[in-house]
């Protein structure tokens, strides 16, 4: 690796430097002195109660706050090594894509195909390239068989996948998903997590605000926890979930198996660290299974 490549590899894709944000008309900070460094290829799950600052964080990284909505801020956010402040947020447009909670409310076009092409069209993409990008995004999101349908004829899971496809077509380096799965059934959620997980494996950086901590435990490489606008934790997933007392103190759910192992840890002396999913939990509790056979 050359010196330049090494330096580039070390540049975080997103860096928040003591970032503080206040909505217009509000007297309490939505985010307060947040410092975090997100590396290329990270899958960051964002956890916290409602009002903790998850959406504000997502919209700030995408440049929507404060550059579109207004409000006041301090500190800085860099995307791919450049400050958003220097470009008035426009620098984030091609690099960062954001999918919001309610997909239905963002559709404007009569067909799925037109909907995916809409942003590309607005960005002035040449027609052949636009077709290629629509085909790529539709294939990646499993929508090739419904391209001619109205977005409103799709299931909830398909609608969310369409919202992701619209952003994916622009091929951003960072995909932000703000509670994208909260209105879906379990099958729809699995669809979205599988899709986002695959995108991450293919090199995209993912930032995903979610309440579904059990699925995040499976997919996210790091977790970022907010409470009342302040950063409470930002570390590899198993380290954050291992700190059960901290999470419960900030009213953040932990996977059921993690909480159970934490509460029964004195009876699991061979357990080196808390399990964060069912597979790890079955390994941790294996001694009990053996024990119950002996008993």
């Amino acid at each position: 690796m050359s010196g330049i490549e090494r330096i580039r590899a070390q540049t975080p894709i997103v860096e928040l430097k003591n970032y503080t944000y206040l909505y217009r008309g509000s007297n309490s900070h939505a985010l307060s002195h947040v410092t975090a460094r997100i590396e290329k290829g990270d899958f960051v799950g964002v956890l916290g109660c409602n009002g903790a600052g998850k959406t504000t964080l997502c919209k700030s990284i995408a440049g929507i706050l404060p550059y579109v909505v207004g409000g006041s801020w301090e500190g800085e956010i860099d995307v791919d090594g450049k400050s958003l402040q220097d470009s008035g947020g426009t620098h984030a447009v091609g690099l960062v894509g954001i999918v919001l909670q309610n997909a239905e409310s963002q559709f404007t076009q009569p067909t799925v195909e037109d909907e995916i092409a809409f942003a590309l069209c607005n960005f002035g993409y040449e027609r052949t390239l636009m077709r290629q990008r629509v085909a790529f995004a539709a294939k990646a999101c499993g929508l090739t068989t419904v391209l001619g349908r109205s977005p409103y004829q799709l299931s909830g899971g398909q609608q969310q996948r369409l919202a992701i496809a619209c952003v994916l077509a622009l091929q951003p380096q960072v995909m932000i998903l703000d509670e994208t799965t909260s209105q879906l059934d379990p099958e729809g959620r699995d669809e979205i997590f599988r899709l986002v997980g695959k995108m991450n494996q293919e090199g995209k950086t993912i930032i995903m605000a979610e309440h579904d901590v059990e699925r995040l435990a499976e997919f996210a490489s790091k977790l970022l926890v907010l409470d009342k606008g302040s950063l409470v934790a930002f570390a590899p997933t198993s380290d954050v979930l291992g700190n059960v007392e901290l999470l419960l103190k900030h009213h953040v759910r932990v996977p059921q198996v993690t909480e159970a192992a934490f509460r029964l840890r004195s009876q699991l002396p061979s357990m080196r660290r808390l399990p964060i999913d069912l597979e790890e939990a079955t390994a941790a509790f294996k001694v009990w299974k053996r024990g119950s056979v002996h008993a």
């Binding site: 409602n50 299931s155 209105q183 059934d185 159970a260 509460r263 001694v287 299974k289 119950s292 008993a295």
Partner: protein, 284 residues
């Protein structure tokens, strides 16, 4: 035997434009003082079923009885006083410019009178922790608070049957805890609570009974223990038991399953320590 609040007899429903049989011969009885969760994939008929309880939909065939009386004889307005329905998306339900006005819509329409209306609004706001939000515009609130406003706006009229469509979606831990307390208190007063939910952790925690629907039919109706033991039927409906129940099932397939983390911890608090000691002494 507790009184039946809602009964359906061979209820079928066909959506006119699509000629789709959304409900097929559904017979069900929901009793007073019972929390019943209706679960199943999107499109399985859950919402179609409960929309018959307050007359939003009328049967293509079969009958709906509300406290023994044919619902066909009652208007939607009359049925809504008995069966209160909270929509999944609070944005589809909320339309007033302050929370106080929003909460007063039901009592006002049902003729509570000014004094009783004011008292009911303040009481429900207190129960759901919305007192500070009473003067705010509902659309300025965060999603959890909006969900609680939507629930409070139905609860305020004190329907005997409370129907909650996906009440936990988008709710954080604090919201979920608040909601579970409200459901428990409402049940204790002898009311019926009907939940439509994909949130199996919450369903396991609050339900007396779980009904699984698939393709417009009831495929299983039983206690959480019975339903979560039938993993094949659950996976057929694209559902999975709570994570802790799955772990308990793996540990002890035959004994009573733990439905919550508290159940699991208290069930295993002591007895396996001795098992562990047995294993250590047997292998040492």
């Amino acid at each position: 035997m507790p009184e039946a609040a809602v009964q359906t007899e061979a209820l079928s429903y066909v959506y006119g434009d699509a000629h789709v049989l959304a409900l097929a011969d559904v017979s069900l009885s929901l009793c007073c003082g019972e929390v019943v969760s209706i679960v199943g994939q999107n499109g399985s008929g859950k919402t179609t079923l409960v929309r018959h309880f307050n007359g939003l939909l009328r049967p293509t065939r079969g009958k709906v009885l509300i406290f023994g009386e044919d619902a066909a004889k009652r208007s939607v307005a009359e049925l809504s006083q008995i069966c209160g329905y909270v929509f999944q998306n609070p944005n589809h339900q909320i339309f007033c410019s302050t929370v106080r006005e929003e909460l007063a819509v039901g009592p006002h329409n049902f003729g509570f009178g000014a004094a009783r209306e004011k008292k009911a609004v303040e009481q429900v706001a207190k129960e759901l922790g919305l007192t500070d939000a009473l003067g705010k515009h509902p659309m300025t609130l965060d999603y959890t608070t909006k969900k609680l406003v939507a629930i409070a706006s139905v609860l305020v009229s004190h329907p005997k049957v409370l129907i909650l469509d996906e009440p936990t979606d988008g709710l954080d831990e604090i919201g979920r805890e608040k909601l579970s307390k409200v459901i428990e208190a409402y049940r204790k007063e002898g009311n019926t609570v009907v939940l439509i939910s994909h949130d199996m952790d919450f369903v396991a925690m609050v339900s007396d009974r779980i009904v699984i629907m698939a393709a417009g039919k009831i495929v299983k109706d039983g206690s959480p223990q019975e339903v979560f033991s039938e993993r094949g039927r659950l996976s057929g409906a694209h559902l999975a038991p709570p994570q802790i129940t799955q772990l308990d099932f793996w540990l002890h397939a035959t004994s009573e399953l733990a439905l919550t983390t508290d159940d699991f911890v208290s069930k295993h608090a002591d007895k396996h320590l001795s098992n562990y000691v047995d294993v250590v002494s047997a292998t040492s």
